[in-house]
């Protein structure tokens, strides 16, 4: 049983100089066999294990992570959470996640610092205006809070935006989802890891999967750097490396893995109290609790696993940022990094069974998976436990690329690819 985090435990531990805090999760050696193995210890994978134990009472579960938990895209994203997607299927999926976010800190007894500061998406041309108005209407029909703002309302909501009509791509309007916001991404991984560990899930770090053993049409286990582990069900949540795992099982996926970059500035006093995204000029910005500007750049157009992106992508994003926010012109950038995102042709994820029995994939989140972490884990756990998708992720099956029933979210994905 984990000790509860509270103001009282904080005071109590301060007397021992914070040196006696209980370990949040263990460091077990892998057992010979598990009921379910989750490959990938990021937010989605840990959430999947957490909900398998919590909602489906399956506790003989291992999460296998080749590095350290939350060290991949979970710790590399720009932490934006919203649910203003166009199609009904996506609205259901992302708003399911948003509803879990709203109670997550209490549920996990772990402060994920979820901050509903609102997300504003800007329109810079007539087509943007039409698309965003259409999306606002679609959101409202699906019960998702969304409002359309004209240029003056954009300026009022975020005064530092340059709304003058003579910039290269003037701000013609925007949408606002007030329930949207940000969260602390590391805390999400750590909170789920602590919760899953408490219920008996083994979190095995520094253990890379080297192969998937099949007998005929079903899986038998995984070969890892810590030996062979037997299991009947494998849930793969490997983000940019999904295709690598799929190739081990002899499966092909409709994914391309590409670098997506982000950067943060030196910390400054509070200057922007919301998240502003702009698809057309490709710039989005928010401010972290430490005061750094968090800026998201675009994807490169080539396949790469190097976790580095091209310099001209960053330059293009910063050009746009400076045109929209001249006040940032003398800010210095402190850190820049890349993550490898697995992009689907329709910019929607895959949470699905596969033709191989006992092998499940949760992938294709591309540039926007962080926001869905709790919902994705919940629905993937349901899919694995019941060997059937939940109605909220039924549309996100692998077979849609054969049937043609795609969920095209290139507009709402907000990162051009």
């Amino acid at each position: 049983m984990k000790n509860k985090y509270s103001i009282i435990s904080l005071i109590k531990n301060s007397f021992s100089y914070h040196e006696n805090w209980q370990k949040a999760w263990g460091d077990p050696e892998p057992k010979k066999e598990y009921d379910i193995i989750i490959i990938g210890g990021g937010g989605h994978g840990l959430a999947t294990a957490y909900y398998l134990a919590k909602k489906h009472n399956i506790k003989n579960v291992a999460v296998i992570e080749k590095g350290w938990i939350g060290g991949g895209n979970t710790g590399r994203n720009t932490t934006i959470i919203r649910s203003n997607y166009l199609w009904d299927a996506s609205a259901g999926l992302y708003d399911h996640a948003l509803k879990i976010w709203e109670k997550l800190s209490q549920e996990l007894n772990y402060n994920v610092m979820f901050s509903q500061r609102g997300v504003m998406n800007l329109a810079h041309n007539l087509q943007d205006v039409r698309d965003l108005k259409r999306r606002t209407h679609a959101n409202r029909l699906n019960g998702i809070d969304a409002v359309y703002l004209n240029t003056d309302q954009v300026k009022k909501f975020c005064p530092i935006i340059n709304t003058s009509p003579d910039i290269r791509y003037p701000v013609l309007g925007g949408t606002l989802q007030r329930r949207a916001g940000t969260a602390r991404h590391d805390a999400v991984a750590w909170g789920y890891a602590r919760g899953a560990d408490e219920m008996g899930v083994d979190i095995i770090q520094n253990c890379e999967v080297k192969g998937i053993k099949r007998s005929g049409d079903s899986v038998e286990g995984v070969e890892t750097t810590k030996g062979f582990i037997k299991t009947k069900k494998i849930g793969v949540v490997a983000a940019g490396h999904s295709s690598v795992i799929a190739n081990m099982a002899g499966l092909r996926l409709p994914l391309e893995s590409k670098p997506l970059q982000a950067l943060v500035s030196e910390p400054v006093k509070p200057i922007i109290d919301t998240v502003v995204m702009s698809n057309a000029v490709h710039a989005y910005v928010s401010q972290s609790d430490k005061g750094e500007l968090v800026i998201g750049a675009g994807t490169d157009d080539y396949v790469s696993y190097s976790q580095k992106g091209s310099h001209d992508i960053v330059e293009g994003t910063l050009n746009a940022i400076l045109e929209l926010y001249p006040i940032f012109s003398r800010m210095r950038m402190l850190r820049q990094w890349g993550g490898i995102v697995d992009i689907c042709p329709d910019a929607s994820p895959i949470i699905s069974k596969t033709p191989i029995k006992g092998l499940y994939f949760n992938c294709g989140w591309g540039t926007g998976g962080f926001k869905a972490t709790p919902g994705s884990g919940d629905l993937f756990a349901h899919t694995i436990a019941n060997d059937e998708p939940h109605k909220l992720n039924a549309a996100f099956n692998l077979n849609r690329f054969v049937s043609g029933d795609l969920v095209d979210e290139h507009g709402a994905a907000a990162v051009a690819h």
Binding site: R252, S257, D300, V303, Y305
Partner: protein, 91 residues
Amino acid sequence: MFLIHCPYCGEREQSEFKAGGEAHIVRPKQPTELSDDQWAEYLFMRKNIKGVQFERWVHTHGCRKWFNMVRDTSNDEIKATYKMGEKPPTK
């Protein structure tokens, strides 16, 4: 940013180029006779290799010609470039 050897123009900056995805995917000869599975395979399924991969690139801000590239996707090292229609280098 890396330098790319265009088979027509020589070495140029990467920002002059655009990537066009996996190379040597042959367009079906009899499109009307394909099953849905075969269409999905042709249109969407990709090898997405971590390691040496064959790709198409185009010199957008240059000669505007398409060509092929052999590249290691794990470290972005370019092994070779060659013209469309040519056989890929064996080593």
